[in-house]
């Protein structure tokens, strides 16, 4: 019974000559020991990140259109409701047309975690973990970790304080020191372990009080509370369920080294 697990499905996709995802550019990032805002042990331990490769750009509308064309089960009119909510790709003109509100080079948004995972699998990749994403986003044009520089933080904050009532810019911002673009200041991005952040919905009870809520420890203690720029991204991710989509939530993919 139940023989529909399709471990071979991606092979079909991989052979599809038109798959534009094959052209996607990935660059190597070194990883290493990294002082994340979420301590690995909820106290002070840095995260240990294995070397990995990251897509240089977020996935665009054009790329996602090619994906749903090759995998019609991910069209907005066919997707199972457990995998994507009612707003999934709702800014597209039709289930297989982008239209005026979704330009080909704009990052794709209104995609669920499941849809993002499926896309990444279609290009033999996965979503980056939170630590991988945070590690990459710590860079600026010259340094792999620019988080101590107020200018780095201000750039992120200025994006937060811009309301989302205007069209998203196209992908293709300036590359950082790794050659990765648009990590900060364009969209929110899904991560593989978005439901591992264990941040309480209430920002204020982050130590002690919730010890019993989670096996083994309290909710994740966020380090460096002044590092609110990153904290807000954690809050956003932890507000979401895997089938949720929002106007500003897109993704990029990662691969092991």
């Amino acid at each position: 019974m139940g023989t529909f697990v399709m471990r071979w499905a991606w092979l079909i996709v991989g052979l599809g000559a038109a798959a534009p995802s094959l052209a996607a550019n990935y660059v190597p990032l070194p990883g290493g020991s990294f002082a994340s805002v979420i301590a690995a042990d909820n106290k002070t331990a840095p995260a240990q990140i294995a070397p990995f490769r990251l897509r240089t750009e977020p996935v665009t509308n054009a790329e996602f259109l090619a994906f749903v064309t090759a995998h019609p089960e991910w069209r907005r009119d066919r997707v199972a409701s457990v995998f994507a909510d009612g707003q999934y790709l709702s800014h597209w003109a039709s289930p297989d047309t982008l239209g005026a509100d979704a330009l080909p080079r704009q990052p794709v948004t209104r995609v669920s975690w499941f849809a993002a995972q499926a896309f990444c699998q279609s290009e033999q990749a996965r979503l980056p973990t939170w630590y991988e994403w945070e590690f990459a986003a710590a860079a600026d044009a010259h340094r792999p970790d620019a988080r101590g520089d107020p200018a780095w933080r201000d750039r992120i904050l200025s994006w937060y304080t811009r309301p989302s009532n205007t069209a998203l810019p196209l992908v293709g911002g300036d590359p950082d020191v790794h050659g990765v673009r648009d990590l900060n200041g364009l969209i929110w991005e899904w991560v593989d372990d978005f439901n591992a952040l264990l941040v309480s919905g209430d920002n204020r009870d982050q130590d002690g009080a919730d010890k019993l809520r989670f096996c083994g420890a309290g909710a994740a203690n966020l380090r460096e509370k002044e590092n609110y720029a990153t904290l807000m991204r954690v809050a956003m991710l932890s507000a979401l369920k895997a089938a949720d989509t929002t106007n500003n939530m897109g993704f990029r993919c990662a691969r092991p080294k």
Binding site: R162, G201, N203, L212, R213
Partner: protein, 509 residues
Amino acid sequence: MKLLTTILSFGCVLALAACSGKPAGDAATPAAAGQTQASASQASTTPGDFGPPQGEPIHAVLGVPPNVPPPINRNYPAKVIVDLEVIEKDMEISEGVTYTYWTFGGTTPGSFIRVRQGDTVEFHLKNSPTSKMPHNIDLHGVTGPGGGAASSFTAPGHESQFTFKALNPGIFVYHCATAPVGMHIGNGMYGLILIEPPEGLPKVDHEYYIMQGDFYTTGKYREKGHQPFDMDKAIDEHPTYVLFNGHEGSLTGDNALTAKVGESVRLFVGNGGPNLVSSFHVIGAIFDKVYYEGGKHAQENVQTTLIPAGGAMMAEFHVRVPGSYVLVDHSIFRAFNKGALGILKVDGPENKAIYSGKEVDAVYLGDRAEPNLQAVAVAAQAHATGTLSKDEQIAAGKQLFTGTCSVCHQANGEGLEGVFPPLAKSDFLAKLSKEDLIGIPLHGHTGKITVNGKDYDSVMPPMGQLTDDEVANILTFVLNSWGNPGGQISKEEVAKVRAAGPPAPAAGH
């Protein structure tokens, strides 16, 4: 929205799983999907619990500030449904200055909620699909962990629901508690919920809703254009603006609160913070009663009352004499240099037996015109193209004067005798050099001067927020108005004085 329901039925507001030892009525614990959790089981033993809700569910009428929804006038506990939508939007914080507000219901402060003690409140928090951020709500009137915050953590384009019983009467603040809390509050996410005692509140002629808040922008006070939030200033507790109801001018001019002589007024005043404590005062009025801290007991005959950040109070008083009563935070620089001003305008016959003096409201506000900076834009453009005429400068200067200078010097340039020197037919101005004249708006003025035979000894702060061409236009307007000798000041002349810096203290007079 069937789909939305489906999503919600997945339950799990994140990070909520309770282990043992948590009370069953934990407000932060969502009930099993599709079932509403009501804590009615212990009705008889909990004070303020008047039993299960009766009658048909009621949809709460929400008050748009400064208005308050009508009194409840109901003698049984009901189920009250509150629908509140979070909207992120750009609005004017001051003339020509925009700010991105995060709001409960599209306004700062957020919609006023009014329920009765013992009511079961079914709260629906919606986060607009156009929002960028997740938000939640902590109602200080809720008994339960987080005041509903964890149960209402809501991503853009989604909705959360939780239910609580309003056990304690009083006036309570609500606010967003999503990380970083200070930024969400600083962007305007606060409001008031009134939980009426069963017998209601004594009848009054007017009820108004006011909330103070401090705002932190990267630019200076009244610096034009879009101003982003400044986290460093917020952490340092150095606000750029301290405001009533979120915007400079939200309670002045045409927006002033109104009443008639002999009427009674009730003010619901909250303080959203995020940082400052308010010394709330109404100039020219004495509160008959202040229900300080929003609680049960009233102090009588109060001049100034302290409202903590995240707190509220209720004040009742009668207006017996016509005129304009000025609402201030009596930490007074906030009122005159950061915007914490409002007006209660009282119409009716004079009562000289009570008060026979000259009205003083003009001291604080004058007749500031509606925001109209069209001429300013024309002048800026003309300057850019090298065609700026003196008339264009005067027209632009007049509008800028209204926004910046008329508060003290008055729209007619007459000033206020003994306090703010006149600019009209001013012998002091006439004998100033161009450089000294330009220096006054740029660097301010301190110390004793004599104008038209009267002595003045007050402080004018530097108007550093004005650009070179704005200073040039204002001064050109002043020089060519109210019988002054005429003349013209150019942007370049202002730039030169600015570059030279303020004079050494001794060099002045």
